[in-house]
């Protein structure tokens, strides 16, 4: 019983990680770099939702889209201001990573000085009472989160695999140069991808905020996103989802049965094990660099 209970918890947090990891992987597959600022976008998405609900008293079913669009637009802004100038000069990827770090530091601390460093709780917009199925207590909230996440991921999958623009995205991820020769505008695609990444991070942020709390250092979850993406296979979208679920479940078990203080330690350990044993990730293939 306890076991299944933890599995459900794990899936619930894994679903939130999946939303964040997918956005991370999307950007990685196009630009080949780890966007450390991704967590910051998620954090602001969470705050957008929170502020919409508490300050503006907007109902949840409107506040959520606001958070999603807000986070998406913020991500585009992030790319335009911080990354595009570097890409234009053809600078090494290292510079993009450094800039991303700068953005994440900026976002986190800007939030601290403007909105305040305190933890905030979302008002009760979603039912949280658990319901019982044969001795198992399933939180309504967890269920709702999993459903919303699954729907979002399904939508994202449809966009990336089932539409024209999705084809363009995948073409660009193989080769930006070739894609532009085929008439695809890489700048537009990059912007669109960032919007998608930001939007999914926004949903993830709101879900996370509802399940737990909202606080400026939430951006640190980027590391979890990276670990999830690595475990599943860097650059692979299904891999990100799988990795996130594996991570969520492993973490929850570690926290429940070993020690919650060392929850993060287990996440890193999982990543190190995967790197050593199967560096391509569970679903990934190692792509060898072309000379």
């Amino acid at each position: 019983m306890e076991f299944l209970q933890q599995v459900i918890n794990g899936i619930s947090i894994g679903a939130v990680y999946a939303l964040i990891a997918v956005g991370y992987s999307l950007v990685y597959s196009i630009l080949k770099f780890s966007n450390f600022a991704h967590g910051g976008i998620m954090m602001l998405g969470s705050y957008f939702g929170f502020l919409a609900l508490t300050l503006l008293h907007i109902p949840f079913y409107i506040a959520l889209p606001i958070a999603i669009v807000g986070a998406g637009l913020l991500a585009i802004l992030n790319e335009r201001i911080a990354y595009r100038p570097i890409r234009m000069r053809n600078s090494p990827l290292l510079y993009l990573m450094i800039s991303a770090l700068g953005v994440s530091i900026f976002l986190e601390n800007f939030t601290i000085v403007t909105i305040g460093p305190n933890f905030r709780t979302y008002p009760d917009v979603l039912p949280t009472a658990p319901f019982m199925i044969g001795g198992l207590s399933i939180g309504r909230l967890d269920l709702i989160i999993v459903v919303i996440t699954a729907l979002s991921l399904a939508l994202l999958t449809w966009i990336v695999y089932g539409t024209q623009i999705g084809n363009a995205i995948r073409a660009t991820s193989y080769s930006m140069r070739v894609a532009s020769l085929m008439g695809i505008n890489p700048d537009f695609i990059v912007g669109f991808v960032f919007f998608l990444a930001g939007a999914s991070a926004g949903i993830g942020g709101v879900m996370f905020g509802i399940k737990y709390t909202v606080w400026p250092q939430m951006g640190a979850l980027t590391i979890k996103a990276f670990i999830a993406a690595v475990v599943g296979g860097l650059g692979s979208l299904p891999g990100a989802v799988l990795g996130a679920l594996v991570l969520g479940i492993t973490e929850t078990f570690a926290a429940a049965f070993v020690s919650s203080a060392f929850r993060d330690l287990f996440s890193y350990a999982l990543m190190i094990i995967i790197i050593l044993v199967r560096p391509g990730g569970l679903l990934g293939k190692i792509t060898e660099e072309k000379a």
Binding site: I98, V103, F226, A291
Partner: protein, 296 residues
């Protein structure tokens, strides 16, 4: 010398020592280390525990801290340096977090989040200056050696470097080791200057400060590293009032530098006799006719 200014110089020397390590690893070898603070923490705690609980003299205690930092770098570097740069960067980020976690939870050894108080003030002004100067000399010699050139080759084009016979994995590990050792030295000195240590001193804020110094001065210029360490250590002291906004500004500055002048203030320029000469000539020579102006 006025104690206030002495303090700033000591702090600048400590930061410089840590920054030199980052310069070598990130600037000259091209591997991005987000978690230098973790190595400072290892150095600080190891040195402190040895001097306060085991009454070890300062220098052997420092060396122990440096060694432990260095060994830790092998543990992290071994699985991650053989893969693409992102893995290493994130691993260093995670590493610094893990160190902090461990320090906070191993209360009996480290005093937990309250830290360790009453550390003897062994880091004097002359000591700090000597340590920083020695580090600078060592790193400068390394960079100008064939090993340093191999590191730079790795930064410029890792594949090409492999193809001309450079064992890139090994050199990356060595640079990481040196970066960790210098971080450990800086941490040990920091502990014995401030007089107490707490895990909060070695968090993301510290790593960020160090990274900003490296980027600002120019990742590929040791002169820049020195300049940036001095400047950015004294500046916050002067602008003490705006503490909370300090990090906001740092973040923005990093983005700005990367977007506008990623080479940093100094680029690859170094304070060598040759460069000083040509700079002098540029500033002080009267414009000659185009014909007699030699090629640069």
């Amino acid at each position: 010398m006025n104690e206030y200014y002495a303090g700033i110089i000591i702090l600048a020397c400590i930061n410089l020592t840590a920054v030199l390590g980052l310069s070598l690893l990130t600037g000259f070898t091209g591997q991005f280390n987000f978690g230098q603070a973790g190595f400072l923490a290892i150095g600080a705690y190891t040195t402190t525990i040895l001097t306060t609980q085991y009454h070890t003299p300062f220098i052997p205690a420092l060396l122990a801290g440096m060694l432990l930092s260095g060994l830790t770098s092998f543990v992290i570097g071994y699985p991650t340096l053989r893969l693409k740069g992102d893995y290493f960067a994130i691993a260093t980020l995670g590493f610094a977090e893990v160190v902090r976690l461990l320090i906070e939870n191993l209360e009996k050894l480290t005093g937990g989040s309250r830290g360790i108080p009453s550390i003897p003030h062994y880091t004097t002004l002359p000591f700090a200056i000597c340590a920083a100067a020695l580090s600078l000399v060592v790193v400068a010699f390394y960079i100008s050696s064939r090993h340093g050139r191999s590191c730079i080759a790795i930064r410029e084009d890792e594949l090409a470097a492999e193809s001309i016979g450079i064992d890139t994995f090994w050199y990356k590990q060595v640079s990481f080791f040196m970066c960790a050792v210098l971080g450990g030295l800086a941490g040990g000195m920091l502990a014995h200057y401030v007089g107490f240590i707490q895990p909060s001193m070695f968090g993301m804020i510290k790593s960020t400060e160090l990274i900003v110094m490296v980027i600002f001065g120019g990742m590929q210029s040791l002169t820049g590293a020195v300049f940036a360490s001095l400047l950015l250590t004294s500046l916050p002291e002067i602008l003490r009032a705006a503490m909370a906004w300090r990090l906001v500004v740092y973040g923005a500055v990093v983005v700005l530098i990367m977007a506008v002048r990623p080479e940093g203030l100094f680029g690859t320029w170094e304070l060598t006799p040759k460069n000083i000469q040509s700079l002098w000539r540029k500033i002080f020579s009267r414009p000659k006719s185009k014909l007699s102006e030699g090629g640069a």
